[in-house]
């Protein structure tokens, strides 16, 4: 027997494909991204107060109007109560026991280009598999006749480390940068659209975000432009006891198109960390936005110790006629997920789609779904939600379909299916259906079942072990959603489905 090489300490035998070993290792390893980058950080003092809001604003060199906007949000937030209607059970969050701003020391002086960024930071993203070099290829798509490019904005704790392909995008008129940069460089655009989809008064977590948001991405696609490449933002929480409050604003002007990807991870820690993001999307006449997320924050260990508390407000406003939005999300991480990407279908003939896979294993709890608010005539929406519960996890689909009296001849189709693996977990469905005119059709279907024994038996009889068989059946269950993902995400999502279910059998 000849030993060819070693992959992370495992000897690889001849005839065994290196990729196979890596895949198996990836599936066996619990949370792949649980490591931490040791880097010197600058923190704002712990806790939340008006001074902290002022400090964050000052660190970002923000104009007066934005500071006032933040302060108004903070004043409102102090008076608000945390919502408790979701089917989530978690201990009281001490909002004063958090850092609201953390940035690598090396970022104190803004690097002019990626070449000036601290190599440790770059190494972090390299290790995560996020291409910060303007490379042509993405993992998994090697050998494509025409390699696809993806521009990346990398956010590390409270700051954006850098954005790739900016020059090339600028040629097409596309603005893609961190939101703090957008505030400085494109204040009029930011001022016009910030908070216009998710106002600071929207809900407890959105109000908190409005007061303390640090970095996030800004995207503007000019009229009639098809964004020449996919855009993506990669969020990494690294610092301990630090919340991440990013804010993303995407404006897609008339007739434009963009596909946007979002990914996120965090180190393994035994304390909970807060993540309260806001994503606003404005879609004008004839424009289209695809927004795909693979949410893989640290979920906590198998006993429910640690993990991210993920409270996110995401909303797309189809302002113009024939505007289109598609949300696709794969939710595998976080100890607590509270997230309802929504579509306001204001323009006539506008369309909203929501495809979701939510996997909760061990002690994870997810309460997620969507809102489809039909205001315009002949608006269409489609919801496909697949919830998978394993271990002692609780997984809830919560959604709203609302047909306003003026939304004549509109259409909604909703399908939400839940799959239970094991008898200690829970799967719940809480849809709200409000139909206020009769020319619209609304159809809602939901099923709950367990992993089909016959399918499992078949896979087992073909020599698969039980865990593999479950992963395969679950991937089949999620097929409709996986197909809606951009290709490289679909690959990642499929293996994530397997990893997230690890340990759920037997």
């Amino acid at each position: 027997m000849t030993m060819l090489e070693t992959v992370d300490g495992t000897e690889v035998r001849e005839g065994v494909d290196r990729e196979t070993i890596e895949t198996v290792q990836a599936m066996a390893g619990k949370y792949k991204y649980g490591w931490e980058t040791e880097i010197e950080m600058d923190y704002a003092p712990k806790g939340l107060s008006e001074d902290i809001v002022r400090l964050i604003s000052k660190k970002n060199n923000e104009p007066e109007w934005l500071l006032d906007w933040r302060l108004a949000a903070y004043q409102r937030w102090v008076k608000l109560e945390e919502p408790r209607w979701a089917m989530l059970n978690y201990p009281e969050i001490d909002y004063q026991d958090q850092f609201y701003y953390a940035t690598p020391k090396s970022m104190a002086k803004k690097p002019k280009s990626l070449d000036e960024v601290d190599p440790k930071l770059l190494a972090t993203y390299a290790k995560l598999g996020i291409p910060l070099k303007e490379q042509m290829l993405l993992a998994g798509v090697e050998g494509d006749a025409e390699p696809r490019k993806v521009a990346v904005d990398a956010v590390f704790d409270s700051v954006s480390v850098g954005t790739t392909f900016k020059a090339e995008l600028a040629k097409a008129g596309v603005i893609f940068c961190s939101i703090s940069e957008a505030v400085r460089e494109h204040p009029d655009l930011v001022k016009q659209y910030l908070g216009s989809v998710v106002p600071p008064s929207d809900n407890f977590f959105a109000t908190l975000n409005s007061a303390v948001f640090s970095d996030g991405s800004f995207v503007y696609i000019p009229k009639g432009t098809r964004c020449p490449m996919e855009l993506s933002t990669y969020f990494r929480i690294n610092a301990e006891n630090t919340g991440q409050f990013e804010r993303t604003l995407i404006v897609c002007d008339e007739g434009a198109y963009v596909s946007y990807l979002e990914g996120c991870t965090a180190p393994k820690r035994d304390t909970n960390q807060l993540h309260a993001a806001v994503v606003e999307i404005v879609i004008l006449k004839d424009a289209e936005v695809k927004y795909s997320t693979v949410q893989n924050w640290y979920p906590g260990d198998e006993n429910g110790v640690g993990g991210i508390y993920n409270f996110v407000t995401k909303r797309a406003d189809c302002r113009g006629d024939r505007a289109k939005v598609m949300w696709t999300q794969v939710e595998t991480g976080s100890a607590i997920t509270w997230k309802y990407p929504s579509c306001i279908l204001r323009g006539d003939d506008s369309q909203g789609e929501f495809y979701s896979i939510a996997i909760a294993n061990n002690a994870q709890q997810a309460d997620t779904g969507t809102k489809m608010v039909h205001l315009g005539k002949r608006t269409k929406s489609r919801i496909v939600s697949k919830g998978i519960s394993a271990g002692r996890a609780q997984n809830t689909y919560r959604g709203l379909v609302s047909m306003h009296p003026k939304a004549k001849d509109s259409r909604n189709y909703t399908q939400c299916d839940s799959l239970l693996i094991g008898d200690k977990c829970g799967a719940h469905t809480v849809p709200y259906i409000e139909v206020r005119n009769n020319s619209s059709r609304v159809e809602h279907e939901a099923t709950t079942s367990k992993v089909d024994d016959d399918q499992l038996f078949y896979c087992r009889s073909r020599g698969m072990d039980e865990e593999e068989a479950v992963a395969l059946v679950v991937n089949g269950f999620c097929k409709e959603v996986l197909q809606a993902l951009p290709m490289e995400f679909a690959m990642e999502a499929q293996s994530l489905v397997a990893i997230s279910l690890e340990g759920s059998v037997g």
Binding site: D423, E434, V442
Partner: protein, 433 residues
């Protein structure tokens, strides 16, 4: 926990309009406990999760809004030709003259007003007990109010197979009547009973029906809620089902300003079955709300919910249905369908069909649809020479059929179909036809 000020005030106002609780007999403890429950919860408010689609203001008001009783003309009252044991309440008060003798084979019936004075009674184990159990996880303050303040109703103990159905007839006479009735039905193991209810009862009607269905027993319930246009009603059915027992309940609602029908069913023994169905037809100022909560607490139980609503000229239909499958309730089969047919642009349907499941070997599904009548089908029928109005009625009946099929007795089902046909002949959407 202290109530918010607004709730506190609303409750004090309401309680001031009710008589003080009497302190006699076994029932006084049950009433006092119910009052304590009510005081802890307060009255329902529009902001409460399960009242978001129905405004409880008219049910909370101290005085009921006036309502005229409806004259059905020469239409025979429902269940008239059946061999039945007839019990009549006029504006919520038992009418011995109009009622049959309260004794029959296999059943013991007592009037709540009479039985309440005794020191001990079998109904102690049931009156307010299922209602109290049904207050969690969702609060039902109006049911607690009923338990505390009901002065009339029936206590029915079924020891064998009741040979004929018990028919409760609720007559509405006075325009300002405010009736509170509370019935308890206890079915011994293997016993069976069919309970029929019809009539509007009063200008404002509150009714609680608590049913204990022991192992192997069977309870069939068919109700027609009366056609008064102005009446308001809030009703609660609380049922506890033992092993291999069966509950079938069907409700037809035509008209009524406000109807809130709650059903709280607990499947506590294995292989129990609960089928709940409702057909509602509303024209104009009509608000109809079905709120159902079914708990699967044992293995291999089956539940079915079939609720259909036909709404026209600005009518509103609400459906809030929940299936809760507890951990350990394996082999559960839960099915729920809620559908509405909106005959014009002004009508609306608001639904919240929920599943909450803690067991993995289950088969649960729900479906909900809302939409207009199928124009293609209408066109087809018209092209065959069927007038538009008749064609519409045919399609409406076809739409309601799935709910009516839940009635086991074919003759009653047929009678209900005919009634609906006549109703549809009299009512039509201003927009359609």
């Amino acid at each position: 926990m202290a109530l918010p000020k607004a709730k506190e005030d609303a409750l004090s106002a309401r309680l001031a309009g009710l008589p003080a609780l009497s302190g006699k007999g076994w029932i006084s403890a049950a009433r006092a406990e119910a009052l304590a429950r009510l005081q802890a919860m307060g009255l329902p408010a529009k902001r409460d999760e399960y009242w978001r689609y129905t405004d409880p203001a008219s049910l909370n008001a101290v005085d009921p809004a006036a309502a005229k009783s409806f004259n059905p003309g020469d239409e025979a009252p429902p269940f008239d030709g059946l061999d039945r044991l007839k019990v009549v309440f006029v504006d919520g008060v038992f009418d011995p003259q109009a009622s049959d003798d309260l004794g029959a084979e296999g059943i013991r019936i007592e009037r709540l007003a009479d039985a309440a004075a005794a020191d001990i009674h079998w109904a102690q184990g049931l009156y307010g007990v299922l209602e109290a159990a049904g207050q969690s996880p969702v609060q039902r303050p109006l049911a607690a109010l009923n338990t505390a303040f009901a002065t009339d109703g029936l206590l029915i103990h079924v020891t064998g197979n009741a040979t004929k159905p018990v028919a409760l007839i609720y007559v509405h006479n006075s325009d300002n009547s405010d009736a509170i009735l509370h019935h308890c039905v206890k079915l011994d193991p293997g016993a069976s009973l069919t309970l029929l209810e019809n009539g509007p009862a009063a200008a404002r009607f509150s009714k609680v029906l608590e049913v204990d269905v022991a192992d192997g027993a069977s309870f069939h319930h068919i109700r027609l809620q009366g056609r008064d246009h102005e009446r308001r009603a809030v009703t609660h059915l609380f049922a506890r089902l033992g092993a291999r027992s069966e509950l079938r309940s069907f409700t037809l609602t035509a008209n009524g300003r406000l109807t809130r029908n709650e059903a709280v069913v607990d499947l506590t023994g294995p292989d129990a079955r609960a089928h709940l169905a409702g057909a509602a037809v509303g024209d104009g100022d009509f608000h109809h709300d079905d709120t159902v909560f079914i708990t699967h607490g044992a293995e291999a139980c089956e539940s079915r919910q079939v609720f259909k609503k036909v709404l026209m000229n600005g009518a509103t239909g609400v459906f809030q249905g929940k299936i809760l499958v507890k951990s350990g309730a394996q082999k559960t089969d839960g099915y729920q369908i809620s559908q509405s047919l909106l005959l014009d642009e002004d009508s609306q349907f608001l639904a919240k069909p929920e599943l909450e499941i803690y067991a993995d070997d289950v088969k649960c599904s729900h479906g909900s649809t809302s939409g207009a009548i199928d124009e293609t089908a209408l066109f087809y029928l018209q092209s065959r020479g069927v007038p538009r109005r008749t064609a519409q009625a045919l399609l409406v009946l076809a739409f309601l059929a799935e709910a009516i099929q839940e009635i086991a007795d074919e003759d009653i089902a047929e009678d209900i179909r005919e009634r609906l046909e006549r109703w549809l002949a009299r009512h039509g959407s201003k927009a359609g036809a």
